[in-house]
Amino acid sequence: MPAFMRRTTQIATILGATVALLPASAHAQDMRHGGKLVLTNGISTIEGASGGGLTPWATIAGNSTKDGIGVQASATVAEVEDYDFRSASIAIGIFDRVEVSYARQMLDTNWVGGALGLGNDYKLDQDVFGLKVKLFGDMVYGPSALPAVAIGAQHKKNLDGAVVRAVGGRHAEGTDFYASATKLFLSHSVLASVTGRLTKANQNGLLGFGGDKSDAYDFHLEGTLAYQISRKFAVGGEYRSKPDKLGIAREDDWYDLFAAYALNRNLTATLAYADLGSVATVPEQRGVLFQLQAGF
C-alpha cells in the first residue's frame, strides 16, 4: 500500500470513529441513511470536497439526506502532458448539513523534476483537510431562484517544504476559504454552480502558499455548468481561476470538460479533458482525468 493510501486509510478510520459517536444526538430516533437522488451528491473534487472535479459545490458528500449520515470516497488519476496526478479522498456528510473531508494529493514531476534539480520522478505530496457547511437552500427542491448555499475551508499541508522554498513559495501550509452556490435548474436540465475562493495556494498548494510576487490572499472565481442528459448521465465544463504568485513559474487558470455517469446508486465514473495551462515552468499541460467515486 503506497504511503498516501495508508494515510488516507488512517484518516478514514478516524472519521469513521467520529461518525460512530454522532448518532447519540436528538436525531437518533429518526436516523435514516441513503436516499439522495442519483448524482445529487456530485463527484469528489481533487481536494476531497463534494462537487465537480476542480471546484466544490454547495452539496454535502454522501447519499444521505438531512435524516442521516453519508460517506463518499474517490480515487482520481490525471495524466497531463508532462505530469501524473493522483488523489484519493474520503468525506463524511452529516445530516446533509456538514461535510468533513480529507484528500491526499500526489504530483509526479517525471522529467520536470530532473530539470528542476529535484531528480526525475520526484513526487510532490499534499494533505487537504476540508470542512463545508450548507447554510440554506436546496440544489434540487424549493424555488428555482433559491440555490443551495454553502461555505467551506480547506487546510492544506504541503509535505515537500524544501521544494516549496526552492521555487519561491512562502509557506508549506495554507488555508483556502470559499463560498458556493449551486442549483439544478430542472426546467432546462442545467446545473450551475459558482464558487468564490480566498486563496494564496500555488498550483492548488502543491507548490506552496504565497510567493515572491505576493503573499496576500486573492479572490478567485470558479464554476461548473452541466447538462443532465438522463437520470444517470451529465456532461459539462468547469473553470477555476488561480493565483500567480511565483516569479519562476507562471500559473494559469484551469478548465475541464467532463462526462459523469452513475453506474448505480453507489458508484459514479467521471472522465474529463483538463487544461491546467502552465505548471511549474512547463506550459500546455493538457490531458485526461478519470475518477471513480463511491457514495453511501
Binding site: 429518526d30 435514516r32 441513503g34 436516499g35 439522495k36 437522488l37 439526506t65 438531512k66 435524516d67 442521516g68 446533509d96 436546496d138 434540487v140 427542491y141 424549493g142 424555488p143 428555482s144 435548474f185 430542472l186 426546467s187 432546462h188 436540465s189 443532465q228 442528459i229 438522463s230 437520470r231
Partner: protein, 164 residues
C-alpha cells in the same frame, strides 16, 4: 304518503347535484374544502407542448397509473401509501398532472399541505416518489428534458410535502 315523498326527495337530491370533491362516490370522504386550481400548487404550462410530450390525457392517465401502482408496491415507501384511498389518489393526481401540463383538466383536490398532512414524508421518501415518477414517465416515452420540465413545477412544493 308524505313521508315517502320526502324520503324519495332526499334520495334524489344528491343524485341531481354534482358530488362534492371531498366526498366523491367510490372514495372515502375527506374534510370539506374549497376546490380551486390554485390547490394544484403550480401554474399550468402555457401552450400544448407539454401535454403532447406526455401523450395527452391518455398518456398522463397511464403515467399516473404506473406511478401510483409503483408507490403502493414500493418496498421503501409503500407503507406511507398503505392506508391511503387509492381511488381518490389516482383521480386527484391525474387531475393535478393534467392541469399543470395544460392537458385540459381542472384540479379538484386539496392543496399540497393538507393532502400530505401527518403522512410523515421524509426527504428520502420524497426522492423515492420522484424516482417512481421518473420511471413512469420514462415508461411512457416522455423525453428526459420534458420530465425535468414537469419536475420543475413539482420541486418547489417540497416544503408542503416533507415534514420538518
Amino acid at each position: 304518503m308524505f313521508s315517502i315523498a320526502l324520503l324519495m326527495a332526499l334520495q334524489t337530491v344528491p343524485a341531481d347535484a354534482a358530488p362534492a370533491p371531498h366526498a366523491m362516490p367510490g372514495e372515502e370522504p375527506v374534510a370539506a374544502y374549497a376546490p380551486s386550481n390554485a390547490n394544484a400548487g403550480a401554474r399550468a404550462f402555457a401552450g400544448d407542448g407539454m401535454a403532447k410530450a406526455f401523450g395527452g390525457q391518455a398518456g398522463i392517465r397511464r403515467i399516473v397509473d404506473t406511478f401510483v401502482n409503483r408507490n403502493f408496491a414500493d418496498p421503501v415507501i409503500g407503507e406511507i401509501f398503505a392506508n391511503h384511498d387509492q381511488v381518490r389518489l389516482r383521480r386527484t393526481i391525474f387531475e393535478q398532472f393534467c392541469f399543470i401540463l395544460n392537458a385540459g383538466c381542472d384540479y379538484s383536490g386539496r392543496d399540497m399541505r393538507n393532502a400530505h398532512k401527518d403522512m410523515g414524508v421524509q426527504q428520502a421518501d420524497m426522492n423515492r416518489i420522484v424516482e417512481n415518477l421518473q420511471f413512469a414517465m420514462a415508461a411512457e416515452g416522455v423525453s428526459f428534458a420534458a420530465q425535468n420540465r414537469f419536475l420543475s413545477k413539482l420541486a418547489p412544493m417540497r416544503g408542503q410535502v416533507v415534514e420538518r
